[in-house]
């Protein structure tokens, strides 16, 4: 625990806003009648927006380590902004699903706490802070997944919890092993001490810590919860769980690789590269013949983690584009994935078949879905294309040409299952299904906004990328 200096609380303003908003929402919710819970929703939205404003102000100012265990840099700023936007979008999605729900305010409280944990995960520069952030980012989500108290939700929550508890313990074990190997849990100290430490001990510790982070990111081999949770949980929760915690976990992974493990006595690039290859390939294989839109999206998120892990494999200053590429890709992924989930949320359609003829019934929703799915493929000029381009370049720069070729092959393969979803949209629909969907104004708005953001971020990628 070296360098535990004075805490710079002002630099942690967005985190504090999130924590206070959680407490405030809990209190406000308890004293508000059930039919007026929209007040809580408004409060949470305002809190998230002020958090976003604080983030932008902080990003414009100076950055640096707030203490020895947490740092505020470009990556932290970017994660804060992405998480706050993602949480806000989830709150809006929930406005259609959970309005006047008896426990509506609890939903927001859990959501805010999960978001706080995610942000903390990204800024951690000490294994113990990482472990605490992991718990904070996980425990509220267990409750959220089972929020509907129905069969599939409970099963999903249990699976999620058991796997999460296991990987949490692994993470703590890994931290203990690395403490034994390096004599400290701070990243700066570990970076200096690990090159001289026993190789087997370091490897065991790293693999265990990775297990925790991969669980949060939903990457192979700890991805087994992803399809069940995505299908079983309420759609807004599924959107949040498969999108937002990933952002924190992947940045934490990158930071760990970049600051500690790039020079450690194990082949980090090989390890991360193998994990990336496994994630993108197995995720794609799993997605191929899914008939449920949510399961398809679930496996697609697993494969996206694979592409994102390419950045973690290209650490150590060998590729200048790795970090900006990762951050940009995360933002692009956030928009595209949330957009796709927003369409699912707005339609209450479950199987791909039920989307038949959507273009006739809801042309704007259908177009948004097409944009978001093509964005997930990485078709130019959407944002994910720029992210993929940056990460491909980073991989080639870091001498990982084969990984880049594999990622390109996987991109082509992924097109197949996204097309399976896009095709029915334009077919003529059976008349029975025409009137089935209820109106969901908030989800529709989120979907269209996400699609526009996906396109816009791609076209004006220059200024955005130069900020990162």
């Amino acid at each position: 625990m070296s360098g535990m200096g004075e805490m710079n609380l002002a630099a942690l303003l967005p985190e504090m806003i999130l924590a206070l908003a959680a407490v405030g929402a809990l209190l406000l919710g308890s004293w508000t009648p059930r039919e007026r819970q929209w007040i809580v929703r408004l409060f949470v939205a305002v809190a998230l927006l002020s958090g976003l404003a604080a983030t932008l102000l902080a990003a414009a100012g100076a950055s640096g380590p707030t203490s020895g265990v947490h740092t505020v840099d470009t990556a932290t700023h970017a994660v804060r902004a992405a998480v706050l936007v993602g949480t806000l979008a989830t709150v809006l999605l929930a406005a259609d699903t959970f309005a006047d729900h008896p426990r509506e305010s609890e939903f927001y409280v859990l959501l805010l706490l999960g978001a706080l944990g995610t942000v903390a995960l990204a800024g951690a520069t000490d294994l113990l802070v990482l472990a605490v952030a992991y718990l904070l980012a996980s425990i509220p989500l267990y409750a959220l997944v089972g929020f509907a108290k129905d069969g599939p939700g409970t099963e999903a929550a249990l699976k999620f919890y058991l796997l999460g508890a296991l990987s949490g313990i692994l993470l703590l074990t890994g931290a203990a092993l690395l403490l034994g190997a390096g004599g400290t849990t701070g990243y700066a100290g570990l970076a200096g001490a690990l090159p001289g430490a026993p190789r087997a001990l370091v490897a065991a510790g790293v693999v265990a810590v990775l297990a925790g982070l991969l669980f949060k990111a939903g990457g192979v081999p700890l991805h087994f919860w992803v399809p069940d949770v995505t299908q079983g949980a309420p759609v807004p929760v599924a959107a949040f769980v498969t999108t937002v915690p990933k952002i924190g976990a992947l940045v934490a992974l990158y930071r760990l690789g970049d600051q500690v493990l790039a020079k450690a006595p194990l082949d980090w690039a090989l390890l991360a590269g193998l994990l990336a290859a496994a994630s993108m390939t197995l995720g794609n294989l799993g997605a191929f013949f899914q008939t449920d839109a949510r399961r398809l999206l679930a496996y697609s998120t697993v494969s996206q983690v694979g592409y994102l892990l390419m950045a973690a494999a290209a650490v150590g200053g060998r590729a200048g584009l790795a970090e900006p590429g990762l951050l940009f890709y995360l933002g692009a992924y956030l928009a595209a994935n949330l957009g796709a989930f927003a369409v699912v949320c707005a339609l209450r359609a479950r199987t791909l078949e039920e989307h038949t003829g959507l273009f006739r019934r809801h042309p704007w929703l259908a177009l948004s879905l097409v944009v978001c799915l093509l964005s997930l493929v990485g078709t130019p000029p959407t944002a994910v294309f720029v992210g993929k381009l940056a990460l491909f370049t980073a991989a080639l720069d870091a001498g990982l040409g084969r990984l880049m070729v594999l990622a390109a092959a996987n991109t082509v393969a992924s097109l197949f299952y996204y097309l399976r979803w896009i095709l029915p949209l334009f077919r003529a629909s059976a008349p029975a299904e025409a009137a089935k969907t209820a109106s969901a104004p908030w989800s529709t708005g989120v979907a269209i906004t996400a699609a526009v953001a996906s396109l816009g971020m791609g076209i004006v990628a220059g200024p955005v990328l130069s900020l990162l």
């Binding site: 584009l321 900006p324 093509l374 078709t379 130019p380 000029p381 294309f385 720029v386 381009l389 940056a390 491909f392 370049t393 080639l396 720069d397 880049m404 070729v405 390109a408 092959a409 991109t411 082509v412 097109l415 197949f416 097309l419 095709l423 334009f426 077919r427 990628a461 220059g462 990328l465 130069s466």
Partner: protein, 503 residues
């Protein structure tokens, strides 16, 4: 100015989308108006094009109407467009073909607005691709052309349209990603890092690095070969054409296929001249194989549209033969190389016009009688004389009869290639023979002899159809008789490129 030409159709398309519930006729006529306006603008570019370019400055020496804006500076990609002797003819051909399709679709009543918007979008994408001078910009347009054509085939095709569309998308997307990997390879090798084609040509980043240059050329070559398409990457083409609507086929064969061939001239040859010369023999072999295979398979077809689709493989094979031969030419044969490259680019223009006309004619058959099967027709010359005349003209143009554009193109390719690669050129000449046989046979089956079971359903071309198809053939005749207005544009650029890759 150039950017207006590129983005005018897209803006018009967006405007059409915003207008609440426009009448179908209004949409159709707006589309025709916009396409005509764009053609007029391209003609303006043509007339004002400075003729003194392409001296000793290299293939990327001078571009007219250049615009260079920053786009994603942190990865060295910019919005860089400009035209030279290679892109200008293709831009003009694209504008002409899209106008023909707009006219042909005047009576199209299946989701008229979406149809028009999609084609306007495709026009922007095609114009953008032929004027892009930045690899990333090129790639964006390249990929978007696939997306646009996918929706055309899936939305307005017939038969097993969704299946063909998916196959088309997957196959060409695979090619485009190979292309992207090649581009990233070029980017990583360049110093300072850039995606700018002009800058990359100046740097020639992989010159002398045998393995890396070969790999990058392989990736780019596969990407472009899928799109061109050449044997063995052509298998997506026949189903896509068979099931696409007539105007979709015309654009797919006339414009989108050229993107592959154009990519060789614009990217692969000038940026990787050393690797191109090194592996030019591979391209010659692929080209000759495409010529012979395409012609022989086309000979075996009974479906008119499939036959035309396979002749596309054959015709694009000539282009590849010419470009490959230019890479194998020695320094003394620079003139031959120039001739071969000029012929290749002329062939792109000529093939665009003729195939566009042929696919529109095929669409006429399908509109009237619901089948492309040549056995169902016969004796059409008496029933539909105008149709028969135009089709015969297109057939003769395609088989390379003197006086039409195909002859000008193929003659130059053969004359230029004979010196550097005599045996493959002689083999490719056989392709002309087979093509002549198959077109004459098709002529006989469709137009002569007794009437077939569906001949009675064919009426002659309407004014609208004639107005769409006849100008394409008239241009082909114009190029055939007075090739200079076209060759004067192409030749300086071809000379500079030949100097780069020959010897």
């Amino acid at each position: 100015m150039l950017s207006i030409v590129v983005f005018l159709p897209l803006l018009a398309g967006l405007a059409l989308l915003v207008v609440p519930r426009p009448r179908d006729t209004a949409v159709a006529w707006t589309w025709v108006t916009v396409a005509s306006l764009d053609l007029v603008l391209v003609l303006g570019l043509w007339v004002n094009y400075p003729t003194t370019t392409g001296s000793a400055e290299g293939a990327m020496g001078a571009f007219a109407y250049e615009t260079h804006l920053r786009w994603i500076p942190s990865i060295g990609a910019g919005y860089h467009v400009g035209v030279d002797g290679f892109s200008l003819p293709l831009l003009a051909m694209t504008a002409v073909l899209f106008l023909a399709c707009a006219v042909h679709s005047l009576r199209q009543r299946r989701r008229t607005r979406a149809h028009a918007v999609l084609f306007l979008f495709l026009q922007t994408v095609s114009m953008g691709l032929f004027s892009a001078l930045d690899l990333l910009l090129f790639f964006v347009f390249f990929d978007l052309s696939i997306v646009g054509m996918y929706f055309v085939i899936a939305g307005w095709g017939h038969g097993r349209a969704t299946r063909s569309a998916t196959q088309f998308f997957l196959y060409t997307f695979l090619g485009s990603l190979a292309l992207l990997l090649g581009f990233i390879g070029l980017y990583v090798a360049s110093d300072p890092r850039t995606f700018d084609m002009v800058e990359l040509t100046r740097q020639s980043p992989l010159e002398g690095q045998e393995l890396a240059g070969g790999l990058v050329l392989l990736a780019i070559g596969i990407g472009l070969a899928v799109k061109t398409p050449t044997v063995p990457f052509h298998t997506w083409l026949p189903p896509a054409h068979t099931d696409a609507p007539a105007v979709g086929s015309a654009i797919l064969a006339g414009v989108l296929l050229k993107m592959g061939a154009y990519g060789f001239v614009r990217i692969a040859m000038p940026i990787l001249p050393g690797a191109w010369s090194e592996y030019a023999m591979v391209l010659v072999v692929v080209g000759v194989t495409s010529v012979l295979y395409g012609a022989l398979v086309a000979l075996a077809q009974t479906d008119f549209k499939r036959m035309v689709a396979y002749t596309s493989v054959n015709h694009m094979g000539y282009v590849l033969l010419g470009l490959g031969a230019a890479g194998l030419a020695t320094a003394d044969e620079a003139r031959a190389a120039t001739l071969a490259v000029t012929g290749g680019v002329t062939q792109m223009v000529s093939h665009g016009l003729l195939t566009g006309a042929l696919f529109l004619l095929a669409g006429v058959l399908h509109d009237r009688a619901g089948t492309y099967d040549m056995g169902s027709y016969g004796g059409l010359a008496a029933k539909a004389p105008l149709f028969a005349t135009l089709a015969a003209l297109a057939f003769f143009g395609s088989l390379g009869l003197p006086g039409l554009s195909g002859f000008i193109a193929e003659f130059q390719i053969f004359a230029g290639s004979l010196g550097p690669v005599p045996v493959p050129t002689a083999l490719a000449l056989l392709g002309i023979l087979v093509t002549a046989a198959l077109f004459l046979r098709a002529l006989q089956r469709l137009f002569l002899g007794g009437p077939g079971p569906r001949t009675s359903r064919i009426s002659d071309l309407s004014v609208r159809e004639t107005a769409a198809i006849a100008p394409l053939l008239a241009l082909s005749v114009a190029i055939g008789l007075l090739p200079h207005f076209l060759l004067d544009r192409i030749e300086p650029a071809a000379r500079a490129l030949a100097a780069l890759v020959a010897g």
